[in-house]
Symmetry: C2
Subunit: 345 residues, 2 copies
C-alpha cells in the first residue's frame, strides 16, 4: 500500500481531464490528501490547500502522487524535476504513467539514496494468462462509455455504494491508475500486453459464489480509435451480466481526437451488447450514467429523464444523484427467483 | 537480420498449428532452411531433413529458430535445454515466444560466452505512439479471420504476389512472429502494450503516396474471446480500404477454446466491416480466402465457388490457387478513374 497522506500533483497542467487521477484521489480519498502541488502557470485546482513540497512535508504528507495523465503516459522533464525535489524532501513518489519511475535513472538513484519508494501503479502483474472465455460464477456489472474519461469510474464507485446501501455484497474492480490508487488494488488494463487483455480481466474478477456483484471499471470506448482494443478485451474478459453506458453530454469530440464525433448513445449501447454477447449471451443493458457536472440541478435532472425515456432504461448521474434508479432496475432484472420479463433491451 | 540458413525447431510438439512458425519459414523461406530438429515423440514433420544440432551445423546452419507457439508464448524447460545445446554448438537462436530468450539467465550467459546472438522477434519497438485515427494516404488491405491461425498470413503473402504479378506496387506488413521471420521486418502486434495497439499499426503502415498497396497481416478474430482486442486495435490502426475474410473450413471450434463455436462467415464479415468503418467509412470487403489444405482439388474448388456465390464476393484459396479472383475484383473496386458501382456489400 502507498503510504498516506498524499500531496497531489497538478504541475503545469492546464487540462481538466489530464489531472483526473489527482482529482479522483481528492474526491474519493479526501481524508488522505493534504494538499495540491501546482506551478504558477497551472490554472486548475482541486480545492485543496496549495502547498510547496516543504509545506506538504510539514503537513504530514508521505507520498507525492503524480496524478496527471497525457496520451502515451510519458514522464516529462518537469515531472522528473518535481519528483526529484519531493524525494530529496523525504517523500515517496507514486505514478500511474506508462513510463515507469524506476526506469528513470535519476529517480531510481535518488530514491535509493533517500530511502524512499517509487510506486509504479501502472505495472500489470507478471504471468497473466491468456483469456479462456469460459463462463464463471458470479454477477458482474461493467461500465462502458461513449468516450474515454466520461465518468465510468465515478459511476462504478457510486453504483457500488448504492448496492451496498441495499445490503448487497458489491466490490469495485479497478482497471485504471486512478481507480487503483483509490481502491488500493486493481489491474492497470491499458498497460497489459495485448495478448493478455481478456485474461487479465478474468484474473481481476474471478468466479464469485456469494451472490454478490463485481462492479468492473470500464476503459476507453469501442468508438475511440486509439483504445477500442482495450475496451473489447475488457468486454470479453468481464463477460458482464449487466452493462451501464456512461456519457458526458458536454463532450463535443472524442477525447484527444476532436476530428472524431461521439457515437449516438443507442448505437454505442448496441455495439457494446453485441461485443459482450460473445462471452455472455445473456448480457443486458441496465442503465445510463450521465456525467452532469457542467449542468445545474434542474438541467441535469431533465437531461437524465429525457435520455432515460429515449433509451428505455433508467438514467441518472449516479455520482451526483445516487445510483438508486439503476440499482432498482438491476434488482428487478436479476432477482434470484423471479426473472424479469419486461426487458427493454 | 537473423543469419541464415536456419535449423527449424519442432521439439516435442504434437500440435500441427503450434509449429506454424517453423512451417511458415519452411514454406516461404525454403531456400534458407537446412533441416528440422524434432525429438522422437514429435509426430510432425515439415518435410525437411531431420537433423541433430551437430548435423545442422555441419550442413551450414547458423541459427536455430524456435518456431513453435503455445498459448501465452512460454519458454519451457525443454526449449531452454535444446537452445543451450544449440548455443554450445555455435548457433544463434531466434524465438517468437512472448517469453524473451534474453530474460532466461542461462541462455543469456551461454550466448555471451559463445559469442552468439539471441533474437527475440516478439519485441515490439519502444516509444510507439497512441493511435490518432487520422486518415492517411495510401491503399491498405487487411486480412481478417473467423479464428486465429486460419491462413491470414498465407493469404496476405499470396495476394501480395498476385498484385505484384500484375505490376502493382504491393508490400507485406507483418504483424506476427512468423510473418516477421519470413519478411525480415514487421511488428509483433500481440506483444504491444494494449494502449498502443492502433498506434503500432499506424506506425507499421504509414502514409503511402506511390499508388501501391500495403497488405497487412491480420491477427486473431473479432470472435475469439482471448484475442479480439488485438483484432480490434488492428482494424482501427490499419484503417483498411479492403478486407479479405480468411477461414479454415476444417475448423470445428475456436483455436484453443473448443467450447466456442466459429462465427458464420457473413456475420463475421459484417462485424469486421462495422469495426473498420470507425477509421475508414469507405472500407469494403473484397474477397474470401479459404484454407483448403485438408480438401482435394475438386472439393476445394467447389467449396470456394459455393462460398463465393453465397457471400457475393470472389472466393479462392489464394495460396493454393493464386489470388487472381480477388485481385481482379480489387482492381475493379479501386480503379483510379472508374470507381466500381456494383459493390455487393
Amino acid at each position: 500500500m502507498i503510504p498516506a497522506p498524499y500531496l497531489l500533483y497538478l504541475g503545469h497542467s492546464d487540462d481538466e481531464i489530464g489531472i483526473k487521477t489527482s482529482r479522483g484521489l481528492a474526491t474519493f480519498r479526501a481524508g488522505d490528501c493534504v494538499g495540491e502541488l501546482r506551478h504558477d502557470d497551472c490554472p486548475l485546482s482541486l480545492g485543496l490547500p496549495r502547498l510547496t513540497i516543504e509545506q506538504a512535508v510539514a503537513s504530514g504528507a508521505r507520498t507525492l502522487v503524480l496524478g496527471i495523465a497525457n496520451a502515451g503516459g510519458v514522464l516529462g522533464e518537469a515531472l522528473i524535476r518535481d519528483a526529484l525535489a519531493a524525494i530529496a524532501a523525504g517523500l515517496h513518489v507514486a505514478s500511474g504513467l506508462h513510463s515507469r519511475l524506476r526506469d528513470e535513472p535519476r529517480l531510481a538513484r535518488a530514491a535509493a539514496e533517500a530511502g524512499v519508494t517509487l510506486f509504479d501503479v501502472r505495472d500489470p502483474p507478471a504471468d497473466l494468462p491468456v483469456g479462456n472465455g469460459l463462463r464463471r460464477a458470479g454477477l458482474r456489472l461493467l461500465t462502458v462509455g461513449t468516450d474515454c474519461s466520461v465518468g465510468k469510474m465515478y459511476a462504478t464507485l457510486a453504483l457500488r455504494d448504492a448496492m451496498r446501501a441495499r445490503g448487497l455484497s458489491a466490490d469495485f474492480r479497478a482497471t485504471g491508475q486512478t481507480g487503483i490508487l483509490i481502491a488500493g488494488e486493481g489491474l492497470p488494463l491499458d498497460a497489459v500486453i495485448a495478448d493478455f487483455l481478456s485474461g487479465a480481466i478474468e484474473t481481476l474478477s474471478p468466479a464469485r459464489h456469494d451472490g454478490g456483484w463485481d462492479l468492473i471499471e470500464g476503459q476507453g470506448s469501442l468508438f475511440h480509435p486509439s483504445f477500442a482494443g482495450v475496451s473489447t478485451g475488457l468486454l470479453h474478459g468481464a463477460q458482464p451480466d449487466a452493462l451501464v453506458l456512461c456519457h458526458d453530454p458536454a463532450r463535443v469530440g472524442m477525447r484527444g481526437l476532436p476530428h472524431c464525433p461521439l457515437p449516438d448513445l443507442a448505437e454505442c449501447l448496441d455495439a457494446n451488447l453485441r461485443v459482450a454477447r460473445l462471452t455472455n449471451p445473456a448480457v443486458r443493458a441496465v442503465g445510463i450514467a450521465l456525467n452532469t457536472v457542467k449542468l445545474d440541478d434542474a438541467a441535469a435532472r431533465a437531461l437524465c429523464a429525457a435520455t432515460g425515456e429515449r433509451l428505455g432504461l433508467p438514467c441518472t448521474d449516479p455520482y451526483r444523484f445516487g445510483g438508486d434508479p439503476i440499482v432498482d432496475w438491476i434488482l428487478q432484472c436479476f432477482a434470484p427467483s423471479t426473472p424479469a420479463t419486461t426487458a427493454s433491451r
